[in-house]
Symmetry: D2
Subunit: 469 residues, 4 copies
């Protein structure tokens, strides 16, 4: 399953609110709804119109804001961030929002995404005498804005954004305004809502539901929105293009209760399971899913097939970061870590095991083995997305092709390697059908990691960047 690559990817969550006197608390609750997008650090910056205040720390939102007194932050505007660490160092410095103060004003940034030309931009800035404090992409944008003149210039901000290549969703808070920006292809999710008169913005709509806000619309590809006390302005820093929202957001990253580009994630996953049955039916006794992200697809497969859905695998909820890993010796004796099979459900049964994806294949192999050890007669693996054969340059770094099992072995070889009785992937057209509903027909998705068709960015520069990485 895709959780295998979580260590390699940059997938964060952002939340912002403007015009509510409980801005900091609401951001705290919003970040809870985005907690699955990053568990290494969290932070909130508020503005009271005069100055920005910051509280951030490493760990879960609850850890960082343990017994926190929100009156210390105050303010009627806030942005927040949950961080998933990647190749950047896992230090407090890199936890966002980043806050930059100067004698003429302050600026805080929260960012979800990956700037592909960050290294080059950083080199240019340092050459010109700048000192960058973090190893985060996000700081690069701050310096580009500062170089372009005063922090409060919208045209300077647009010039800075135009220098970035990549997938990104930015929230920028200043004393008297909040900026919202989405990359020209709209690769990252970013939605706008209202809570009474206040504006809210979040990576996923689940953050609106938790605070009782209403969804308004998507931030558009290449759009820069600025919210002031007396309203909001919108402008474009890139020409209008077809959106290419990352398909993996539907398959794995997002919460099932979120709507991405107006499509509900659980519903799309259930349709993936249904499409998967249409494409790869099998005679079996029970359907089971790998918790949590594959449950919806498994239920879809069960509903379409008429084979009963059962809980054949269970996740141990209380295994947190302080969990003491079993030694190799105990693992060999059968001690489980995160997942356990349910013997009475699978014993003597032909099992359809639905998972969201296969990356290296090691986890899948372990689960098939676990089910067989618990007595499953047959295990038929059904993957609710196409085989991942290409690296992603927009944020999910699957390193090199060498690690991707599907890029190196045939279906038959993989089936044997993981010890399954059969194996099938959902086709890319099946995935597209499952995701794209009526509401969003004109809007596209990015399936580059499966199909190899990358969305072209800015005068072909993207291909060059690809070759270099």
């Amino acid at each position: 399953m895709l959780a295998e690559v979580r260590g390699l990817q940059e997938e964060c969550g952002v939340f912002g609110i403007w015009g509510h006197e409980k801005a900091a608390e609401l951001t705290y609750y919003g970040l809870h709804a985005l907690q699955h997008r990053g568990q290494e650090g969290a932070g909130i910056v508020t503005s009271n119109g005069q100055e920005l205040k910051l509280h951030k720390g490493q760990g879960l939102v609850n850890d960082v804001f343990k017994r926190f007194d929100f009156s210390k932050l105050g303010g009627c505007a806030a942005i927040g961030h949950v961080r998933y660490a990647t190749q950047g160092e896992s230090t407090i410095d890199n936890v966002q929002p980043l806050l930059f103060r100067s004698q003429t004003g302050s600026m805080a940034l929260a960012h979800n995404g990956n700037i592909m030309n960050a290294y080059e931009l950083r080199g240019e800035l340092e050459e010109a005498g700048s000192i960058l404090q973090t190893s985060s992409d996000t700081e690069v944008l701050a310096h580009l804005i500062k170089r372009n003149g005063r922090m409060d210039s919208i045209s300077g901000l647009k010039d800075a954004l135009r220098q970035l290549i990549g997938a990104y969703a930015f929230l920028i808070l200043q004393e008297d305004r909040m900026h919202i920006a989405l990359d020209p292809k709209g690769l990252r999710p970013l939605s706008i809502g209202k809570l009474g008169d206040a504006y809210v913005v979040a990576s996923e709509t689940s953050a609106f539901d938790i605070i009782g806000a209403h969804y308004e619309r998507e931030v558009l590809p290449g759009e820069l929105i600025t919210i002031f006390n007396d309203g909001m302005e919108t402008t474009r820093f890139a020409s209008e293009e077809k959106r290419a929202l990352c398909a993996m957001e539907y398959v794995y990253f997002s919460r099932p209760d979120s709507d991405l580009n107006k499509v509900n994630v659980h519903a799309s996953r259930k349709r993936m399971g249904m499409e998967l049955f249409k494409e790869a039916s099998v005679d079996a006794d029970v359907v089971t899913g790998v918790p949590d992200s594959s449950i919806s697809a498994a239920i879809g497969y069960a509903e379409a097939s008429g084979i009963p859905y059962e809980i054949g695998l269970i996740k141990n909820r209380y295994i947190g970061r302080t969990f003491i890993q079993p030694s190799q010796e105990l693992r060999e004796q059968g001690v489980k870590m995160k997942l356990s099979p349910v013997r009475r459900i699978v014993e003597g049964k032909r099992v359809v095991m639905v998972d969201d994806s296969i990356v290296r294949g090691t986890t899948c192999k372990r689960i098939v083995h676990m089910l067989k050890s618990a007595g499953a007669k047959e295990v038929h693996v059904r993957i609710a997305s196409p085989a991942i054969m290409n690296p992603c340059y927009y944020g999910i770094d699957m390193s090199t092709k060498k690690e991707l099992i599907a890029a190196n072995y045939s279906l038959e070889e993989i089936t044997e390697m993981i010890g399954a009785d059969s194996l099938a992937y959902l086709s890319s057209t099946g995935l597209e059908r499952a995701i794209v509903s009526d509401d969003s027909l004109e809007q596209g998705i990015c399936m580059a990691c499966m199909t190899g068709k990358y969305p072209v960015l800015k005068n072909g520069q993207l291909e060059i960047a690809y070759t270099k990485c």
Copy 2:
């Protein structure tokens, strides 16, 4: 849902192992699988044949054993406990196992259940000059054993057990033996397994699966098992009676992957949902369950009815004990705590909402309101157990009848109070059918809190005790 009464009940988890050189670690993993049974404290006592060693603390298993070095415990035998605090004080003293040392030997006790005559027994012991250190029922048994002579006398232990009235599952560890005892009606779950040559015992079989152990059999009502290095002895301290295992263990307490008295909990819950559809069908668009304990029943209802199962409600996983509760003002503005509705799923739909039980009705009312606010056209509440109309004297203290909504209002009144379009409970015969499978036909369950028929204990003493409480 029953979670409403969690604050009032004494429902813990016990785990023991004899004859494995990694006894302490395996107990740690076993306690993880029982973590849902008690999150206020955890502890492990080991024996290395010469002496007992203890580590315990307040909080989750992971908190208590954070970076713990198990070589400090050592030993080839261990018992462990996870605790849910009740009327007893929430102090470290009351966290189990309790360990008692003397110049002639030591004794550790771990206990799941409720001793109804604990107060009387405690008074008698103090009158005779004993000092009791904790406010826990468990210590009473230790003093009774000590009074009956040397700690290593099995007949003395049986005499002590015969003085107890109530529902209990005891593990007692001494330097050279482990005792296992279940109350005469078998109200609490307790199973025995094997891991290679080692014996294991646990409140739920999920603790066997996590360490790769195999289920052997149930501990019988009124049975006292003693395990030595050279084998195990079994004896009875009460005459053989029909078992009366608490039905609520199936409905709510236990993990879906556990088997209780050989019946799988998830499967029984799914059958509850199916029976519920047979008894109370309704025309609707989607079936949804209140996470986590009602999901299986909702899937059963969906499977039986043909109405699609959807995720209409979602639980926020990361809301732990350090979560800052929203103020009344924010709650009124719509900030959610543990559960959020999924607007795109329920909007404009007729929703069947399956829950496991109703106690006071306040949670159910809140969820119905939440679904309607998210746009549900109709909400039909289906409860996968009969109405709770009587207090339980065996451990789940529902205080007085006054708090039980079903004991005070008619079905119509409750329907109106919770704001539902319709409401139906599963019948007690339906619940019995769902739980009791072929394997366990002779074995009974206790549904006293629903039916008012209490299992009679020991010369009618139970009724007297009831009257007093």
Copy 3:
């Protein structure tokens, strides 16, 4: 210096107050003034007339009561304890006060001292069916009291005290009274004071000064004082005998600002230094003391001799319990731990180095070496107490004679072993002169560890106990 044996001894501090509405806070401040007597644990029990409340923990007073809300304790009476761990286990269970509850009332105990026949008494209690929870001597007294009948009987309490052999100062708090008891020889310090109308009692008078209380009198040997809301009662549980207050309290244990049996500790130490000069003068350039306990004696030596007192050794104040000890390699390269020499003071000088005592000689040797490495031309060691040649059975366990350097080597041998140019001890008559002032001429001190003359207790039983230990 005596700090060498700190690990082996049982030397705690007790504080009590009756009749002040800030009883818990005042006890907290009082315990700060006694912190040097025990740093492993601290606790306070209060009574509000109805019930006792306890807060205790491991570590310093500041650690245990970090951000503590004293309104949780409340009450107008309190007893407190700081603990120095000895052979008993270092667990929270052994931290005092110990609190025992029963259905007829509660009792809390705080104790400084050592019960020599604790093992025998514990065996008798267990034989009779009691379960003891801690490995502390203190619990034995609680069980003896309980055995003798109701907790509120003063004659029962006296009978219980008569069964104890040893050195002890007890505070016992019940809902409606506080008991104060000192052993028949008065080996431990215990003073009574007044703060307005409230009674206070403490191991040292420094605890009175910190809260602004006034000294009233000593608790007498064999005296049992009981304080009620309407006054205090005094009675004796042992016949009147000459006091034998531990001389080491003056030499090392107590704070310089405390008065013990009306004699100021700093003043007595200064007199020790003066006597020491009279007995063992030497031609030298500077006098220096080993901080902290030997500074007063060094100043006395300097004052009597006319040789200037200088700071030739300095203690690193900030080296607490989390200090990372230097490796053997770094120590050999010269990295210091607690003490550093001051090169510019001692270089080329003949140094008189005053210390309070020598136990094993290893610390003394290290300091002499340190001074010589820093350039001292000569180092003359002057010890402000007689050579320790015998074990103490009353609390300071110097284990066996084997460890006591003075019991095994001649003065010349020790001088050579520690590398000093000369070495002299204060005589026992010198020590007696230094301690015993006019006010307390009739009162004796115990110098058994130096002279071998043990105070006789209770029908010669003490000698028997000595032989056994």
Copy 4:
């Protein structure tokens, strides 16, 4: 005493080492010896020749490096810092060393002192497009260096230093070198030593003693030293001038065992006491000092006068940062905080109370009152430094003249305000005599806060800066 103004001042400690494989550990021990110079934060940066590694945190050295694994830092060179917070925010960002990375190399800075033109320099840098991350003066130097070209240019570094006005001692660590710089007047202490072949540098020589290093020489005013693997280079960035080392370092800041500019601090303080007696003798029974910084002067006064030195005031050692402050009500009832009087020493006596300095007078008044309440017949206050009448612009910000009692009241008025029987200050010539020993006759001290004579810096710019502040 001067501790009164500790909250207002910027007085930190720095330590560096080059060429020792245990560089990080030795820095840890060195920082312990400097802990009194700053307790709000601590940090260490190491270089292994390839890259710099940082560990820092808020609190004491022991807190920050609790159970720290020094192999995580590694390296053969290190700089460390202990910080005392001032007007700058007390956040982790401001804790030093500050570490700046770039694609061409890294640079860490540790700084003790105060840059008077920091605000102006910061404004210029921001105007030119720089983003500064901290509110610390230290970061300004980093940006000035970066602006002047590559980080590894010594002439660029000198240009940057020349832009600073103020009192400063800088350590700068790069992958392959360490820079040491002292301000042109040498206002701050900074010494160089050797430990085997390794170079060490520290604010005070006590840091050499703790690790067994030998003192070599002072860093000279206006000197820039650069240490490489193959030796050290020295150069000047300002013309040679007479040194003006802060006299307050002797009076209050430094440890008694340190030598500053080759003069031992304890010895100089003792001489201050002796000079003070010569200037202001008084008929009395005891001399006592306010612990800790005034003890040496009190001993000097006693030695010169023949009046015995006694411990009339005692400091409570265990009152740390988690100490719960007594309420106003309890303080009024006599609960002490840091200092207690020793009644048996002062009762009925004429007391000479020696203190190091008076700033606002409130602390002095409190101590006089404390001694009188404990029964002192007379209290004669003797201050071991001249009256502080002027603000300091080099680091010790005594805010405005308004707070300085000596700037606003006559000696008689102050005597009455503090309730003393007499009051005398040491004269500035007395102080100079006490500090300046034979070894350092040519070297001067700065007594501007007492005399108003400020050392002139850089073309008269200093006076301008003064006027502005």
